[in-house]
């Protein structure tokens, strides 16, 4: 048995449980709890004139009905604006229940608590809400016209406006550099709305313990620690009296990092008030109309370049539709603006964005979080440059790459963590070489011609990205080795199926020298670990992974110290293998970690045979020092935190070959290739899994998914019947290759891998379709009907 598991393709430990129905998701908990349901606005923009509950009061099984008027101080206030920013001059958040104006279809107005969800929905259907209609603002164009306002006090519907300018090395502005460039192009790009759509929606289940005056909340969240702090503050409870636990969570992809959701405050509040368990499980329609969406942007691009295709100046204006509220600030357009630069060294760069209110569901990060839009912009730009110059698309990219000897590379901007955008490491030319090999880039033109001779249309495209991962501020890890030899690992951030149980166990097993079977991992439970930030921005492996490694190192050191005492050896001569501490080169001089754990905790009372060894008359203790020496603690336990100076930057490149049907305009992905560099891989199989899932979501964004709002602000496809999340049948086989450029920023040398797969897909597919069709593709997603319309407009 080996304990050197870091880097091995260890099978996911959580899968047996999760795929055999043993998972404990939110709705599996509290089967006897009362159920909450909500009356939500059917209108995109309206003033509430009255709420009449009379008819509803007759329903058998009704427990309570609440409107905004019923909410106490704290609970009744607008939800927090989580990430303030000086440029967000007009940030607005919703009330947990609408106060007087509703600003999107789906906004909660009345909360109903009943004996079960059936009754709760019956009650909802009998509550009558009166509305005075206000003009809905839908679509970026209408919003920027400012003719009608989403919030009366936000002129022009502009929530935030930010300009960032990075002059060229010779001090020119982007405008000057573009002006002076031998070639210039300008164009417009459009990206539609999509959404995270985890298979499990949100959900909250709360229990108030009246005897203990404490609250336990289970939430399908990406951040239990932060929900806990928000709840303690909102409900006026002492923090130690609030516990928040993220049970098994069926996907998050960003939407569950937003918190506290209205229901996350209201359900615990009602549970306490009623002194009964209350649960709310979001249904699919609720998830579509009252959680969050992402992606929608319009981009106006101007670029100046030289004969080699090197970008001398780039200017991008982004109109970002953030929906009705801004609880997550302007993180998405900030990421678009900064990560747009990708692996490239750009002469001069100017980016300006306006973040715009519309009467639609709010926009918060969805896997990729603004990067797919930025990469779409930059990669479409690279393709247009290549086409303009008649050069190879890969060569144009290569001409702009940051070179391996130029790291750390400072892009001169401020990243989403408020810290400088400095790339730590990477090898972009090598990634491109691998990608071209993998997809057969150089042989493709011959293939395309051969296919064309048979009446088939084939095209190839590629796209590159850099992803800032592992953003701070910190995460922590706690390790406890108990007297049965088991290793208990906990970290505060949460899991949504990524495989944290596996990779964190791999790290602990490797660091401590114990068999992985003895390691158990707990995430997202504030009873076990109180300090954490959350799971987002491809940060869990980097942040908690390193924190756990550091905590293990502390515990290991202590284990060696205690064992050295017992073995009368020098700790420097000791090693741990298979859970046993032994003297290097003298295997018989050994002591199991279980025994070390016993000895590390001086006892008065023997609770079992093993424990006797640590009791006061056992003769093990030195009489020269106190049983717990100064600076020591009882137990084989340790905690540490990892807080990076700044983010670490993963990168990758994708390529695809697509076929378009000349008659039906159907689009089929024939091959999809990925080269990925996330530094040292803890588990290559899990990295691959993350890539597959990401690419699948990317294919959704490129070919299938969009949120279709009509001019009244009604979401026309709020179900999986009409919002086309791709099935497995729509996802191509994904070919992968890896590069490992370690990060110099953290002890394990790792970078994040969670979002990477999704980022360049739209750019890659657009490029490949463009290549097959010979027509510009500037708007994503694209359907057969769209492609047909593009052909018609082009006259063929």
């Amino acid at each position: 048995m080996t304990t050197k598991l870091f880097g091995e393709p260890v099978r996911r430990r959580e899968d047996a449980r999760l795929i055999s129905g043993q998972g404990r998701y939110l709705d599996d908990l509290g089967p006897g709890a009362l159920a909450a349901a909500f009356v939500r606005s059917p209108h995109a923009h309206a003033r509430i004139t009255h709420i009449d509950v009379d008819a509803a009061l007759e329903v058998d099984g009704l427990v309570a009905i609440y409107t905004w008027e019923d909410l106490p101080a704290g609970v009744c206030e607008p939800l927090p604006l989580l990430i303030p920013h000086p440029a967000l001059t007009h940030g607005r958040t919703a009330y947990p229940l609408a106060r007087d104006v509703v600003r999107h279809v789906g906004e909660p107005i009345v909360m109903v608590v009943a004996k079960d969800r059936y009754v709760a929905e019956d009650v909802c259907s009998l509550i009558e809400v009166g509305y005075e209609f206000l003009k809905p603002v839908v679509g970026i164009e209408e919003a920027v016209s400012g003719a009608h306002l989403v919030h009366e006090d936000v002129p022009g519907n502009v929530g935030a406006h930010l300009v960032q300018e990075v002059p060229s090395a010779d001090g020119r502005s982007a405008a000057e550099a573009i002006e002076a460039a031998p070639h210039t192009l300008s164009f417009r790009l459009d990206i539609e709305r999509s959404a995270c759509t985890p298979l499990e929606g949100k959900g909250v289940y709360a229990r108030w313990d009246a005897d203990d005056q404490s609250l336990r909340v289970y939430s399908s969240t990406q951040t239990s620690t932060s929900v806990r702090m928000a709840l303690a503050a909102k409900l006026g409870l002492p923090l130690p009296k609030v516990e928040v636990i993220a049970p098994d969570v069926g996907g998050g992809f960003g939407v569950k990092i937003v918190h506290p959701w209205p229901e996350e405050v209201l359900v615990p509040w009602a549970a306490r008030l009623l002194n009964q368990e209350v649960k709310w499980t979001e249904d699919r329609r609720e998830h579509f109309i009252s959680s969050a969406h992402e992606r929608a942007q319009v981009q106006h691009v101007r670029v100046g370049f030289d004969d080699e295709g090197r970008v001398l100046g780039l200017s991008v204006e982004i109109l970002h539709d953030h929906g009705a509220y801004t609880p997550y600030g302007i993180i998405v357009p900030i990421i678009t603006s900064t990560q747009l630069l990708g692996p490239y060294r750009i002469g001069a760069y100017r980016v300006e964005f306006s973040s715009i209110y519309t009467n639609t569901v709010q926009v918060t990060p969805y896997r990729g979080a603004g990067r797919p839009q930025g990469v779409f912009c930059m990669e479409r730009t690279m393709d247009k440059i290549a086409q303009h110059l008649g050069r190879d698309r890969a060569d144009v990219r290569a001409a702009n790459f940051i070179q391996p000897d130029q790291f750390p590379y400072d892009q001169g901007m401020i990243f989403q963590d408020g810290r400088p955008l400095i790339y730590d490491s990477g090898d972009y030319p090598e990634s491109l070489r691998k990608l071209k090999d993998l997809i057969g880039w150089d042989d493709f033109p011959a293939q395309r011609e051969a296919a064309r001779a048979e009446g088939r249309r084939l095209g190839i495209g590629l796209g590159c990205y850099v992803e800032g991962t592992g953003v701070g501020p910190y995460e922590g890890g706690h390790i406890q080795i108990t007297s049965d030899g088991r290793v208990h690992v906990s970290t505060g951030l949460t899991s949504q199926g990524q495989g944290h149980e596996t990779v964190f166990a791999q790290i602990a097993a490797t660091e401590l020298g114990v068999p992985i079977e003895r390691v158990s991992v707990v995430t997202g439970d504030t009873r076990r670990f109180g300090y954490a930030v959350g799971t987002f921005a491809s940060r869990a492996a980097v942040m908690s992974g390193n924190a756990i490694a550091l905590a293990c190192r502390k515990v290991r050191e202590k284990a060696l110290r205690v064992a050295a005492d017992a073995l009368e050896a020098d700790p420097r001569d000791l090693e741990i293998t298979d859970g046993v501490v032994h003297v290097v080169g003298s295997p018989s001089a050994s002591i199991p970690l279980a025994t070390v754990a016993v000895l590390s905790n001086p006892l008065r009372y023997a609770f079992d045979e093993e424990a006797k060894r640590a009791t006061q008359f056992a003769g093990a203790a030195s009489m020269d020092r106190p049983p717990v020496a100064e600076g020591e603690e009882p137990g084989l336990e340790g905690k540490d935190y990892y807080s990076p100076i700044r983010s670490t930057f993963a990168s990758g490149m994708h390529a695809a070959i697509v076929e378009t049907d000349p008659d039906t305009a159907e689009i089929r992905i024939l091959r999809y290739a990925v080269v990925h560099d996330c530094g040292k891989m803890i588990n290559p199989m899990l990295v691959e899994g993350q890539i597959h899932g990401g690419v699948a979501q990317g294919v959704g964004g490129a070919l299938y998914e969009k949120m279709v709002y009509d001019e009244h602000g009604q979401l026309l496809n709020a179900s999986f019947m009409d919002f086309l999340m791709p099935y497995a049948t729509e996802i191509p086989h994904i070919e992968t290759d890896h590069l490992e450029t370690p990060s110099p920023l953290n002890p394990l040398g790792i970078k994040g891998a969670g979002e990477a797969g999704v980022i360049p897909v739209s750019a890659v597919i657009a490029a490949a379709i463009e290549d097959a069709e010979g027509l510009p593709i500037d708007r994503m997603p694209i359907s057969p009907s769209d492609l047909y319309a593009i052909r018609r407009t082009a006259g063929n």
Binding site: R117, Y118, E121, D122, S125, D283, R284, R285, D663, T664, A665, E666, Y704, V708, L716, N717, S719, M721, D722, L724, P726, Y727, T729, E730, S783, P784, S785, Y788, A789, R792
Partner: protein, 283 residues
């Protein structure tokens, strides 16, 4: 997403079922495979006071086949019909269409007759029944009647079934020629943006002597067009497809929705007509 309250009935015979249906009248709704009805209930788009679950009714699961065609009982699941070798032999178009109906989990529950009664203009089976000139047998307390496909599909999600009636079976006539069903859907198993069922008969010189198509998703009900004349008694290789497509496009009334424009549906139907007829003629 929970249904509003309803009374639940589980009759065990056709007699009992039609009696319950007669009693509850317009407030009653038959529950067969539930693949269309249950989502409508859960989304509260339908609120029948009484649900008459026919899944325990004896004798409705039969698939009877003879030289004249296939009679499918009201409880025969899509999957059972799809897998029935005898049915495929007697009327291959059934299997050709069923392969494109939803996904296997849905086909395991959904019924052929339920699909006909549901009368979704994007559904495959109504087009099959219409193309073949089949019929639906309806039972009520006052007896049985057989309604021809041409009279059965009266509009989008509307059929000739009356309050108090239970569809007990459907009859798909045999066809002594070739058949095919081609369609283009957004995703595998989705309702088609356009689809065409074709039935073609050739003479010994491989000339088209009879040809009909039924188009889905381009009208309030399946649009059946006899294209024999447009095929001009030519062999498939020499048919003037422009004329055939024009003859069909003249008859369809596609509408735009969020997945496809009317224009695209019209174009796509044209492409699929040619493909379907060629496939049915096996060339």
């Amino acid at each position: 997403m929970k249904p509003p309250p309803f009374d639940y009935h589980a009759p065990t015979s056709v007699r009992e079922a039609v009696e319950v249906l007669a009693e509850v009248g317009a407030h009653g709704k038959v529950l067969a495979g539930g693949q269309s009805l249950i989502p409508l209930l859960n989304m509260r788009l339908a609120a029948p006071g009484h649900l008459v679950d026919i899944n325990r009714v004896a004798g409705l699961g039969e698939i009877e086949t003879d030289a004249t065609g296939v009679r499918v009982g009201a409880l025969a699941r899509h999957a059972a019909v799809e897998r029935s070798a005898a049915a495929s032999l007697a009327q291959p178009l059934l299997g050709q269409a069923l392969k494109q109906v939803a996904h296997s989990v849905i086909r395991n529950r959904g019924t052929v007759v339920g699909s006909l009664v549901h009368a979704d203009p994007a559904a495959e089976l109504p087009a099959v029944l219409a193309l073949l000139g089949g019929s639906v047998r309806l039972a009520s307390v006052s007896g049985e009647r057989e309604v021809a496909a041409a009279d059965f599909f009266t509009g989008p999600m509307e059929s000739a079934i009356r309050t108090g009636e239970l569809a007990v079976s459907a009859f798909f006539p045999a066809w002594d020629g070739g058949t095919a069903f081609v369609e283009v859907a957004r995703r595998h198993g989705d309702y088609a943006m356009a689809g065409v069922a074709a039935a073609v008969r050739l003479d010994d010189d491989l000339r088209v002597t009879a040809a009909r198509v039924a188009c889905v998703s381009v009208g309030p009900a399946p649009v059946v067009v006899d294209i024999t004349e447009a095929c001009g008694n030519q062999s498939v290789a020499s048919v003037d497809w422009g004329a055939v497509v024009a003859a069909v496009q003249e008859r369809i009334e596609p509408e735009a929705d969020i997945h496809a424009t009317a224009d695209y549906r019209r174009h796509l139907t044209g492409v699929l007509v040619e493909r379907a007829v060629k496939a049915a003629a096996d060339v």
